[in-house]
């Protein structure tokens, strides 16, 4: 076993390094511009973690190497200063108010870097931008905050899928989610499917109030250090750690509620009855005209159809007088629930020269707006850093989480609450016996019956933790070892009662799903930094081994004695069971060299040699290099310290990254287990492909960083070109082979884009206004699929998304709707047999399929403002997504022309009534399809929106009042999420994708998807 050998060596090294380093004591004082002493300033020996802090008089004392060192002085709100010491005994250091973003320390992969010295493209989001947001998952806090980073929740379910795309999507069948690194560990972000098509977002386990910063690595210079997993970009999350100084205690509590952002309007009882009676007449006429159903006269057909509707509506009406005084149940409102939100957090941090600690505990309870949907999360976090000796740092992190999620079925299941809108409004909520009205006395099985008679509770226990140790072997040379684990246990317990859809025929249906996911990561890292004359050289080399293993089991039972005895052991019969495990490993060697000449000319080289068990024996290892250069033009003498254009840096990079996010064993030719009549058997599963390997993305980036007016305004501009080849593609195979797909390295996708972001301190002083604007445009293009293949189309009759050569991924493709024939009321489509011809047909099958629009947003952006006036502060974060269409697939039921008894949206009333009518809604004909085919441009709608994502208003209670209450600070605030939305979208909410079946192929697809929540909370934040 490699790990054993590994740690033995680490132990040897431990002994070997202790002999290094001779030091002396250095004393000093730190003051501000007014010569007032500054307390709590961090004093760090550069290239080490040896640090101390100034006392109340601004004084400090630190042991520095006799050989000399560089001290870094940092303090929140002040510019960081570096001072070289050689033989000085006393230091007096003055710090100036911070204005320069360029001097921030940025977390990069396997290290840190000063922003002005970066050669890569990295967006940073400060933890305080995320704190206290009334959402459950960290990605939601990042929406609109970073240029070129597209984030979208599939729908308004709590704890559900969230898509993150950095600089566009590169892959068709592998994941397009970025790699998430939490404090150095690649954490599990695979959506966990608990066996019944419900997915849980693992990132929702994290308490983002403990996040110090989030860095998003976008170009190859930044992400190639993550090799075979860097192609989708990398999100590095760093949690808060203690700083030396006296204990800081913060308590925060907030409470609020959520509501759906938008509702739709459906037919009331009267409208519904009239609509279907008319549709029956029209259906009868149509049937007679087309010779369907053997009628002797038109009147006979009309009478039969009308009688049929009267019979059926009578049944849905349950004895109420639907003809004269119909019931009008507002089913839509019943899909939602009161949705309170509450959270509390207690943080304690502090430290001395021997220890620094950050401890926190918190909970967040969020009720979803959707019936039966809620999440309860408890977090305990510990970050400890110990400085036991002059050359040794060590520490640990531990995040303990319990996250309980009451989930609801996916959009495609009829039990999901949103599909309640299909019920006829003439159906009373309760029948004459006082029971909830249900099928067959309602049009469909009632989701309410399921909601009240079933539960589906998923509980995750998760521990993410790690230890590290650092040894300073020589000045500037550091050895660091890390071992970390991310372990999740998921337990899902579900029971569908005797009245529910699933439970009714079998006397109750229950199941238990258990999974354990172990993810271990160990690494050993050498870091060397040396500065001589105008040269600075940093070298880093590391190796890393990661092992991921998932084990799961599920059992389902039926026949329960009653709904209260719903544990699986009460089941009379076990009807389904499954248990398996899955494992993959990565073994990697990596390195980076960064060289800076006079802080003006910057060069970075990185490389990673990555091996993975997911790939075929012929191509198991790959090399992923990158090179980058930067030129800080503003530091050139000829720039003359120009303070108008105060900072200017040109940077460029090129590199290769990979994407390995596919299922395991895709390279092997396998037979899998299949049974018949409870006897064991085997069936062909995959065709072999020993050459299977990662997807390869080469990326070129050209960027400009600038500062204006003494850096009061900062900005970044980037152009990039990402070229992804050897796509891991489930290539459709002719079914006559006996197989339908095989994963092959075939195909090519490119992403070209521009990103711009500007941050400005528009006003400073008593009234301050800090604004950030970011905008990005990405052009995505499918360049190549399998040889001879022009299109991949999995959309069937419900969807429109395809992969088509020459177009963006997921482009809409299908028959083009041409409206309604004014003479007949028939739905029309453009024949599109030849370009330019606008000939129409009423035969859906005769319409040639054409490109209908783009589901990918053209422009995404954010506009983030923080305003303060004295004790008041206001945050306004806008987020916008523009220029794409959404497929309202569910509308082919909700605006479907009486093909079924589904209730209709009010727009359906604009239907064609008589010859000459000009309308978009075809004549409804009972039980006949007329333009209600989901696969048609009829159901596309503009998805652009501009949203006030976060609005928060805070008031800092004056210090004198706080003192009376023995508080160091008190802040009262209100915060609103999704407060305003501007959109022309016709569905519920434009931030949408059905979670049933959403994929790289299938997005911007609305199928009874729950709208987003609008959440408003009030909170109090105390410093004790």
């Amino acid at each position: 076993m490699p790990t054993m050998k590994y740690w033995l060596l680490v132990a040897c090294l431990l002994q070997a390094v202790i002999v290094f380093g001779q030091t002396r004591q250095l004393r000093g004082v730190v003051v501000d511009e007014q010569e007032e002493p500054l307390a709590g300033v961090t004093v760090l020996i550069k290239g080490t973690s040896i640090a101390t802090a100034t006392d109340a008089d601004g004084r400090f004392e630190i042991a520095v190497p006799v050989a000399g060192a560089t001290l870094v002085f940092s303090y929140v709100g002040f510019q960081t200063r570096e001072i070289s010491v050689t033989t000085e005994q006393q230091l007096r250091v003055q710090l100036f108010i911070e204005k320069k973003l360029m001097d921030e320390v940025v977390v990069i992969g396997y290290g840190t870097q000063i922003r002005s010295q970066l050669t890569g493209s990295i967006s940073s989001v400060e933890g305080e931008m995320l704190e206290r947001l009334p959402v459950v998952s960290v990605e939601q806090g990042l929406q609109g905050k970073a240029a070129g980073v597209f984030i979208e929740a599939n729908n308004g379910k709590v704890g559900g899928d969230i898509r993150v795309r950095i600089r566009g999507a590169t892959s068709m069948d592998a994941s397009n989610q970025p790699l998430f690194i939490l404090d150095g560990i690649p954490i599990n972000t695979y959506y966990i499917n608990d066996g019944v098509d419900i997915t849980l977002n693992p990132l929702a386990d994290l308490d983002f109030n403990d996040i110090e910063s989030v860095e998003i690595l976008k170009d190859a210079s930044a992400s190639a250090i993550y090799g075979a997993r860097g192609a989708n970009g990398v999100v590095i999350i760093t949690t808060k750690r203690g700083k030396s100084g006296k204990p800081q205690v913060t308590f925060d509590f907030q409470q609020g509620w959520s509501k759906p952002t938008r509702l739709r309007e459906f037919l009331n009882g009267r409208q519904y009855v009239d609509y279907f009676l008319d549709a029956a007449v029209r259906g009868g006429k149509y049937a007679y005209r087309m010779g369907l159903g053997n009628f002797d006269s038109e009147q006979e057909a009309i009478d039969k159809y009308t009688q049929r509707v009267l019979n059926d509506l009578a049944q849905f009406a349950n004895g109420t007088d639907f003809l004269n005084n119909p019931v009008s149940t507002d089913w839509q409102s019943l899909a939602f629930q009161k949705a309170p939100f509450s959270s509390a957090d207690l943080d304690i941090s502090g430290g001395s020269d021997r220890i620094a600690y950050y401890l926190s505990a918190g909970y967040a309870f969020q009720n979803g707006i959707l019936l039966d949907n809620n999440a309860k999360r408890y977090n305990i976090n510990t970050n400890l850093d110990l400085y036991p000796g002059k050359n040794i740092n060590t520490g640990l992190s531990l995040h303990l989480i319990r996250n309980a999620n009451n989930t609801v079925p996916n959009d495609y299941q009829f039990t999901t609450p949103m599909q309640i809108v299909a019920q006829a409004p003439i159906t009373p909520l309760y029948d004459s016996t006082g029971e909830l009205t249900n099928y067959p006395n309602a049009t469909y099985q009632s989701p309410l019956v399921d909601a009240y008679n079933s539960f589906n509770l998923s509980v995750t226990w998760r521990s993410i933790g790690g230890v590290y140790a650092e040894y300073f072997l020589l000045p500037g040379l550091k050895l660091r070892g890390e071992a970390a684990a991310d372990i999740s246990n998921l337990n899902t317990n579900a029971y569908y009662g005797k009245k529910s859809d699933l439970g009714k025929p079998v006397g109750g249906y229950g199941y238990v799903y258990n999974s354990t996911l172990e993810n271990y990561d160990v690494k050993l890292l050498l870091d060397y930094t040396r500065t001589w004359n105008e040269h600075t050289l940093s070298l880093m080399a590391a190796n890393e081994y990661q092992r991921y293993k998932l084990q799961y089991s599920e059992a389902d039972g039926t026949g329960f004695p009653n709904d209260n005895l719903n544990n699986l052991s009460s089941a009379s019969q076990i009807v389904y069971y499954v248990g398996n495990s899955d494992e993959y490993r990565f073994l990697s060697y990596l390195g980076r060299a960064h060289y800076s000449l006079s802080g003006k000319y910057l060069f970075t080289l990185t490389g990673r040699y990555d091996g993975s068990s997911k790939f075929g024996e012929n191509r198991r290892f790959g090399f992923f290099p990158s090179a980058a250069a930067g030129w800080v033009i503003s530091r050139e003498p000829f720039w003359n310290n120009n303070q108008t254009l105060s900072f200017l840096k040109l940077r460029t990079s090129y590199g290769i990254t990979g994407n390995a996010e596919i299922a395991t064993y895709q390279y092997a030719g396998l037979f899998t287990v299949s049974t018949y009549a409870d006897k064991p058997g085997l069936s062909p599963y995959t065709l072999p492909n020993p050459d299977l390997s990662w997807e390869q993305t080469s990326q070129y980036d050209l960027g400009l960083d600038f500062g204006l007016l003494s850096d009061r305004i900062n900005g970044q501009l980037d152009y990039y070109f990402k070229d992804t080849r050897d796509l891991l593609l489930a290539v459709p195979v002719s079914a006559t082979t006996g197989f339908t797909y095989q994963t092959q390295n075939i195909g090519r996708v490119t992403n070209t884009g521009i990103e711009a972001s500007v941050y400005a301190d528009l006003f400073t002083g008593k009234f301050s206004w800090n604004a950030g604007l970011n905008v990005a445009r990405n052009w995505n293009k499918v360049v190549e699929i399998a040889p001879g293949q022009d299109i991949i189309d999995y959309s069937g009759s419900d969807g429109l998304n395809v992969m088509k050569v020459g177009y963006p991924m997921g482009i809409y493709y299908g028959p083009e709707y041409a409206g309604v024939d004014p003479a007949t009321g028939d739905a029309l489509w453009y024949v599109n047999a030849e370009e330019g011809s606008r000939e129409t047909t009423n035969d859906y099958n005769a319409a040639h399929w054409v490109i209908l629009g783009d589901p990918n947003p053209k422009v995404i952006g954010g506009f983030n403002n923080t305003l303060t006036y004295g004790a008041w502060s206001l945050t306004l974060n806008f987020q916008g997504v523009f220029g794409h269409l959404i497929h309202l697939s569910g509308d082919h039921w909700m605006n479907g022309g009486a093909a079924t008894y589904d209730n209709q949206i009010v727009e359906a009333l604009n239907y064609w009534k008589q010859p000459g009518d000009i309308t978009d809604v075809p004549e409804p004909r009972l039980f006949f399809d007329n333009g209600n085919q989901a696969r048609s441009s009829r159901y596309l709608s503009d998805g652009s929106y501009l949203r006030l994502k976060n609005f928060s208003l805070g008031y800092d209670v004056p210090e004198k009042w706080c003192r009376k209450a023995h508080l160091n600070g008190l802040r009262l605030y209100m915060s609103a999420y999704n407060l305003l939305t501007l959109t022309r979208y016709e569905g519920w909410d434009p931030e949408v994708s059905a979670d049933g079946g959403v994929s790289n192929y299938f997005f911007s697809f609305d199928f009874y998807s729950a709208p987003q929540p609008r959440t408003i909370v009030f909170g109090v934040n105390m410093k004790l």
């Binding site: 050998k5 590994y6 060596l9 390094v17 087309m290 369907l292 159903g293 053997n294 049944q315 099928y439 067959p440 006395n441 009714k504 025929p505 079998v506 080399a541 190796n543 039926t558 019969q573 398996n580 993959y584 073994l587 060697y589 091996g611 993975s612 068990s613 290892f621 092997a668 030719g669 396998l670 037979f671 899998t672 299949s674 049974t675 018949y676 009549a677 409870d678 006897k679 058997g681 085997l682 069936s683 062909p684 065709l687 290539v731 459709p732 195979v733 002719s734 079914a735 006559t736 082979t737 006996g738 293949q789 299109i791 189309d793 009759s797 859906y844 099958n845 085919q933 989901a934 696969r935």
Partner: protein
Amino acid sequence: MKTFAIILFAFFGLAACSDVLELTPTDAISTEVALETDEGVKQVLIGAYNALSASSLFGGELMRNAELFGGLDEIVWLGTFEAPREIYNHQILVTNVDVEGFWVEAYNLINICNNILAHIDVVKEADRNRVRGEALLLRGWILFELTRFFGQQYVAGTNNTQLGVPIITSPSAASTDNAFPARNTVEECYAQALADVTEAEALLPATNEVFATKYTAAAVLARIYLQMENYEAARDAAHRVISSGKYSLLPTYAEIFNTDGLTKECVFGIVVTATDGINAMNTYFSTLAYGGRGDIEIKQSFLDLYDPADTRKALYFKTANRWRTGKFNNQFGDINIIRLAEMYLIRAECNLRLGTAVGASPVDDYNKTRVRAGLPAVTTVTLDDILLERRLELAHEGLRVHDIKRLRQSVGSFAWNDPMMVYPIPQREITINPNLIQNPGY
């Protein structure tokens, strides 16, 4: 320097351990291992039955669709699924998921059978004929089913050059094997199906647990010959099944259905248990109370075809004011694919058409099911009587559209040979395989 040596050693210490990347799955085995032993090949044969029992095939959709396709005049599709509705209305889109599922699962089954046949030599000699016979039977049978859904009706006395489906007789080891075949003619498909099933009948034993026997093959031959209007061969094949003495009509009609375990009347059935298999007939024909979706209503006009005294009529029941068949009310019940009653009716029909009395006179065979249904025996019988009896006895069991076609009848306004009386070749296949020609009208 020693320290650096240690560090370097630590760094590359893992290099020697790249075998940590060699992993094997826990739920699958390599193709070579699966097919190299007697036990392995026999397990693959179980896999073939599993494929046969897929919901797209004999799990129920194949029969459901035969009823929907010929059902405009006797049943109503009420359900929300579009694919069956398109089939029912004869407005099938080339992307119809049920049509695609049928094609995909059928060729999956054919590939499994071809794998077994290609590795038949590793099967112990004592079992080799049986295993070979089962693989041939399943391959030929499903080819017959594909042909009669995707190709126009076989017309006796003509060359039948209308297109059927591609005939595949070798296993696929790579994604390009068997990937680009053209469609064979209906004549060729029937010839291949007959050859496979005829050989299977000779190889198979008379009993074989719940699996196919010699008489399953004979019964399938009876169906194929009947569809080809080869009445002598159909009659003789049906006669071989009846005269085997292995099967008997159950005393009452109701006890044939919703059973856990195949009955004496069942010549071949799909086994469904609570833990294995799916009864898709239950899913669509039965109602919520029995685990179904309640998607199919039986028209009153169809029920009116039964004599009021006919006990078979009692199996229909009414929920929500709509008639339903009671044949599929056991969610985990076995599915009858071929019953002995069908063999009696084939023999009766063929004997009557040919003026022969092989095994029994037509009227005696006709009276078998009639008397069981509580009706008095008759002394004379016409062809129409037998065909009506067939329709009533075997209602909703998956024969309807095929009978309409061979009898040159029509459904709604669609004549037996209307272009809309066959499935379209799935669009996914047309896209991948340029050698496939779409059916006219699609």
